[in-house]
Amino acid sequence: MSILIVGELINTSRKAIKPAVENKDAEAIKKVAKDQDEAGAHYIDVNCGTQVFNEEETMKWLVDTVQEATKKPLCIDSPNPKAIEVGLENHKNGQPMINSITDEKERYETILPLVLKYKAKVIALCMDDTGMPETADDRIKVVDSLVPKLLDAGVPADDIYLDPLVKPVSTGDTAGLEVLDTVKYIKEKYPEVHCTCGMSNISYGLPNRKVLNWVFMIQTMTVGMDSYIFNPLDKNLMGLLYASQATLGMDQFCMQYLTAHRNGLYEE
């Protein structure tokens, strides 16, 4: 058992990616895909949501382009179900991942058929029609609704990745704790189901954001978070991830840690 890493860099909301996508600069996109693959990402996230006027067409181009550079499976990421379907239709290598389903009625009903049809892994956000969660209890309520529903619909537990939704600690002192308590609950009640998140929201509005992100990765991993959506090119982050995996008993004979060391990850 080790941590599943989803490389987040191919996203048109990022300044470096937007022009590359708009100019159909395949080489630039392929490089970012390949770099993330080589850095250890298990999935490559693909998101072109900001191209609101031609997202579906852009999604096809992106998926095709990324698959020319890597054999890693893709995480098809969009708020738009049509763009997700286009991504899935064109997905070739391994089991695709969908980012994301939620317990909002409309979202659930449009995404579930895609999860089943393409036998995809799916990131499930802990939110419903009542809004974004504040407390651990808000999140747990969604978990207890969403997980049994997905399992009943035939989605294997191993394909479900619950995202508790990380909110800034700058606007709520217990924002980190609410997530940790949610993960503990999920691991206790649904041990076969996975937990994932992006950490960067935790540090919104504060200085030295990286430090907070790193610490929060280790804290969440300690309570059972077993997947992250982040920038795998961040060597500090990857170094801490492998070290943390080893000390949490998730790295047999410390092989991943040592491989990372031999690959020069810890060199300055």
Binding site: S13, T50, V52, E55, P79, G131, L206, P207
Partner: protein, 210 residues
């Protein structure tokens, strides 16, 4: 003569107890409530906004300052008739239909309120129809729209279109913001302005109405 600088500094420090104490002291000394707001509380919050924008102050500090300012406002408000309440203008604010994100929008609301605007916070998942109703009811100078999802960004355009249909577009300035929103997008949908953060949004409103 009240010490407005000390009051401003207490707002900047986010010291709610001190702001309340100094505000009460000024009231007891017979200082006009409106002067307490305009000379003490708002100037403090203006400094907070400037420092926040410059990266010298951070979100939790802004929240503490806003809370401190509110502590003072609660003491002076009962002394002012509603019609005499100084207002830099009225802003109708909300997250557009289909979108449930509220953190950024609430920061914007808080900063604008602290700068002396009357803010009608409509919450999240607000339809174009509801925005139009609010414009008719509150007669704001500004409508500020938030969206955090690329799929809901286009709902901002719906609000602008409906304002046009209802003949209200020229009565208000429309501001847009949120992570996926850009100046280009604002121009494309015919908004009057875009701001990347809460302090810039407040400055933008001031300049649009200035």
């Amino acid at each position: 003569m009240a010490n407005f600088e000390e009051l401003s500094n207490a707002v900047i420090a986010g010291n709610e107890a001190k702001v309340k104490e100094l505000t009460q002291k000024a009231i007891d000394e017979g200082v006009e409530a409106i002067d307490i707001i305009n000379e003490g509380l708002i100037p403090g919050m203006t400094v907070v906004g400037t420092r926040f924008k410059a990266g010298e102050m951070f979100v939790p500090e802004v929240l503490m300052s806003a809370r401190a300012m509110q502590g003072g406002m609660e003491l002076v408000k009962p002394l002012i008739a509603d019609t005499d309440m100084p207002s830099a203008g009225t802003v109708v604010l909300g997250t557009v239909k289909g979108d449930l994100h509220d953190i950024g929008k609430n920061l914007v609301g808080m900063m604008m309120e602290s700068a002396g605007f009357k803010v009608i916070n409509m919450g999240v998942d607000v339809s174009a129809e509801k925005f139009v109703e609010a414009v008719k009811e509150h007669k704001p100078q500004v409508v500020a729209l938030s969206a955090l999802l690329t799929t809901t960004m286009l709902a901002m355009k719906d609000v602008i279109e409906l304002l046009k249909e209802e003949g209200l577009r020229d009565d208000v300035k429309v501001l847009v913001g949120g992570a996926p929103v850009s100046q280009d997008f604002a121009d494309e949908i015919g908004a009057d302005g875009y701001a990347p953060d809460a302090a810039s949004a407040t400055d933008l409103v001031k300049s649009l109405l200035g």
